[in-house]
Symmetry: none
Subunit: 226 residues, 2 copies
């Protein structure tokens, strides 16, 4: 029983490139050029993972994502043109499980999809909102709650937290976080990550001086304690 992926992308050349890369992994790929086609295909064909480009003629990627999320818990990967924080946050709010910024390497795409499939398999009930002790992340609302109380995070803080939450317990180096959140082309100070982590802590930690959720692993980076 093979894995079936629906790729939604209007640029035909990119679409076929993606299709080839995914078929290399042994997956079956269905294509859709517009949002309408995507929804039709999704209702017609059994689908294990959906890949959506944000820029689409007609219904845009966010709308497609919301519509699909409304009727299914299928893993959704959003593709954004640039590492635009606003797009990413909007994508998560629309219910995406992961996102990728163009240009991306085919191998990275495969790796992300594999990760989603693994997650979907292991936790059959993939609860959309994540809990870490008294901390609760509700991506589709773009909201974080600490012991039931709403906490307002800025876009960047939210992205840092979500990034860490993608693989709880795993250590993310500053370099990796910079690449994932600010994009490749960013050559700023690694200290930048520190600042956002610090501000994040003042909001999500009961005692920011002794963080229990966002902990630093000296010499390596930061991680989200499980």
């Amino acid at each position: 029983m093979s894995t079936r992926i629906l790729a939604v992308e209007d640029d035909e050349r990119i679409r076929t490139a993606v299709k080839l890369a995914l078929e290399d992994e042994g997956w079956v790929v269905a294509e859709a050029a517009t949002g309408e086609d995507a929804l039709a295909s999704f209702q017609r064909e059994p689908t294990d993972v959906v890949l959506i480009d944000i820029m689409l003629p007609g219904i845009d990627g966010f709308e497609v994502c919301r519509s699909i999320r409304h009727i299914s818990d299928v893993p959704i990967v959003m593709v954004t043109a640039r590492s635009d924080t606003h797009d990413v946050v909007a994508g998560l709010e629309a219910g995406a499980d992961d996102y990728l910024t163009k240009p991306f390497a085919p191998k990275e795409l495969s790796a992300r999809i594999r990760a989603l499939l693994r997650r979907a398999r292991t936790s059959e009930v993939s609860s959309p909102h994540l809990r870490f002790g008294d901390l609760e992340i509700v991506p589709e609302e773009g909201v974080v709650r600490r012991s039931g109380r709403d906490v307002h995070l800025t876009k960047t803080e939210f992205r840092v937290l979500v990034e860490l939450a993608q693989s709880p317990g795993r250590v993310f180096s500053r370099e990796v976080l910079l690449e994932r959140i600010w994009g490749y082309g960013y050559f700023g100070d690694g200290r930048l990550v520190d600042v956002h982590v610090r501000r994040l802590r003042t909001k999500v930690e009961a005692d920011p001086a002794n963080p229990r959720h966002v902990v630093t692993v000296r010499g390596l980076g930061y991680k989200l304690q499980v």
Copy 2:
């Protein structure tokens, strides 16, 4: 153990500029001006990353890419003259892992290569986690667990442990450990290893005075008891 990069580019000035930029990062750079040279060099020299310009006299970049990909999984970066979507797609189809459009900043090139190296490293060392009795090593979390309880190790302690764990039961001399962890050029006290082993023991051994995991073999070195 240095990283080796093969740069394939016919324009000599660009080639040397790239070479200098990459050598600034501490990498060893091999050059090739034609596709034929590139393939010959790749088969002759050990190579960690390949950088290929699409426009080449003789065999073009796509062909070189396909040929290399046919015999190896080495990360490949393609360089296109313009941000021509068609080239990009063709490059990805040929098996490239990433691509860059001229003109590019040397720092961006380095960043991309670093990202590829990191991905290659993490995917190959996906050895889930190692177990030795009540000892469990989880590399991606940068954490070691003793009978289920998290133990925090420093970077060096962690490296010592992982090094020993590569070949459980085998004895590692101080010289070998110094060379593998601190690098060739290190001419410090051999006693340095002792200190880190001692601190490692206080953390991973139930009774550090009578170590059961990290055992010393008098006159030879240390080993990890199986």
